[in-house]
Amino acid sequence: MYKDFMKILAALKYWDLPLNDPSYRSNFQSRKILQKLTYICKSLKIQMDYTFSLYIHGPYCTTLADDYYKYHNNVPKKSTTYEPENEEIEIYKKIKVYVFSHPLYNRNRVEFLEAIATIMYLKDINPGLLDDEIFENTKINKPYLSDRIIIIATNVVKQLLFKPEYLTDELKEELEMWDRAED
């Protein structure tokens, strides 16, 4: 899936995200980040044929793993032949604002990404899940993730999935009211 992998590299290039060569056994963090970010992009509707399953480390795709071992040299250099569409750039921007700018990303980036990707996966397969059920399911699958990380990640997922068309006049009015209350 050369084209899909080039898409991921285009995203890494946009974010200027430093990642090491994933083929080195010790670069476990780079492999995990690649898996989780790819799933987040796919869940936000960047078209890719990678198929993920909820694995022991969160959503995981073996074909993606094959690709980053095969094209491992491209990762640190972020060299890609793919030119992203405007809609894809909007998604990259969203991830940059809500994920990379979050203070938790600097402290616990892998666990934070793992929590976000897992919650998105749970929402993708069962859109009707309530927050409490998402928390419970995430905790069952990932008992080692702290409650705090899961709760923060749940809110970040809501921000990522929020679409401008959801912002009705009624909601705008309510938000303004809350803003005024905070002042």
Binding site: R25, S26, F28, Q29, I56, N108, V110, K142, Y144
Partner: protein, 115 residues
């Protein structure tokens, strides 16, 4: 007993000698298969959560597999901390191949009986 049946049984017994019986234990085989499937490496805590076994049992089986040369224990950086991951070695991949080939013979034997 037909010649075919005798041949299959001979193949089954001969091939069983190629399989390392120390790996052919439920937990060890599971651990080896999981670690082989996840090429990226697996953390101890993740294996523990998945297999739902005690730390002591898991640690002992991992050490045994490591001593047999089937898995490798590697210290890696993760979120500015040092963590341990386990990865399959070529010898581990080879052992899985042998075990699955042996299972294939068992399947062949069962299929020929069903016919």
């Amino acid at each position: 007993m037909s010649t075919d049946q005798t041949n299959i049984l001979k193949e089954l017994i001969d091939f069983s000698n190629k399989v390392n019986s120390k790996v052919f234990n439920h937990t060890r085989f599971l651990i080896l298969t999981i670690i082989s499937y996840i090429r990226d490496g697996v953390q101890f805590r993740v294996l523990k959560n998945l297999l739902n076994i005690s730390d002591g049992k898991l640690q002992a089986d991992l050490e045994n597999l490591k001593e047999m040369g089937y898995i490798e224990k590697i210290k890696v950086d993760l979120d500015n901390k040092k963590v341990t991951i386990y990865m399959i070695t070529d010898s581990g991949k080879n052992e899985i191949k042998k075990i699955t080939s042996w299972i294939e013979i068992i399947k062949k034997m069962k299929d020929s009986k069903d016919v």
